[in-house]
Symmetry: C2
DNA sequence: AAGCTACTTAGACAATCGTCAAAACAGCGC
DNA sequence: GCGCTGTTTTGACGATTGTCTAAGTAGCTT
């Protein structure tokens, strides 16, 4: 099998690649968008998968073979393979077999969705620290 | 070797608030940093908690009481309370009781850690040749 | 104080997750 | 072909998670 591309269909209003929704504190996340992003987040919410993703993304040449990854962990090969499958199913990485080894690379569009979700709000004049006070007088 | 594996959890060396580590594809994530970020990500890797966080962060006044949040879900109050506790334990939100109601607000420093981790990949050609000096606006 | 509302804690349950050992699959070299 | 190495699949196991009901705590109003 070759590089997998997850359907991840029906993003609400994502006309742009690498974006699903507005930053988390900009506007309430819709039910569908939340579900979609949760799938992505579940895939990275594991220390092993986080390190795998990071090792793949920062590896020279932009890709890494499984043999490069396994030694860094105290886990069996099937477990590493399982984690890679989770990342691949989520659309975070792609894979391809070339001869003996299988290579993995990051799919930046998907990673960028996460970055966009937690993008800092640079919008001035809004809260972002402690609650104002009991005086809730909106402008 | 420097203190790469500190027994006390405390984060590697983040003098910078709202930042834990370099972006995920910049350099391999350390074991401790990955564990720390995974805790944060697990807290957010749920559609209900994602929406809660978003509803709180985007609520007028910068805070929301539980009564504002419960109606949006088809879940019992204890379940909502449980999810809020998970978010609060992770340091993503703060809470305070004022009279009858309990108010929640976002802690942006923690959310920014997630944003920094998935910061967009800029130059796909050059990696790890710079010591990752991202400077987040200190609020 | 008694009753009411808002919210949290405690305990239980099925479902999912992370891990492993064993087996299977895919290429390469002899 | 046969054996060897690299990677994935299968099946199983305990641990964790999301949800509920029931009961508890905190504050207001009478």
């Amino acid at each position: 099998m070759t590089a997998t591309t997850l359907p991840l269909a029906r993003g609400s209003q994502d006309a742009q690649a690498g974006t699903c929704c507005a930053p988390i504190a900009r506007r309430p996340l819709g039910e569908g968008d939340a579900a979609e992003m949760a799938v992505l987040l579940k895939a990275v919410a594991d220390p092993v998968r986080l390190r795998l993703l990071s090792m793949i993304g920062s590896h020279a040449g932009g890709e890494a073979c499984v043999c490069d990854l396994t030694d860094a962990f105290d886990l069996t090969a099937p477990t590493i393979s399982h984690h890679l499958k989770v990342l691949r199913t989520a659309g975070l990485i792609g894979s391809e077999r070339r001869g003996t080894w299988v290579y993995y690379w990051i799919i930046p569009e998907t990673v960028n969705k996460l970055g966009a979700l937690f993008a800092p709000l640079t919008e001035p004049g809004s809260r972002s620290d402690r609650p104002a006070d009991l005086t809730v007088t909106p402008a």
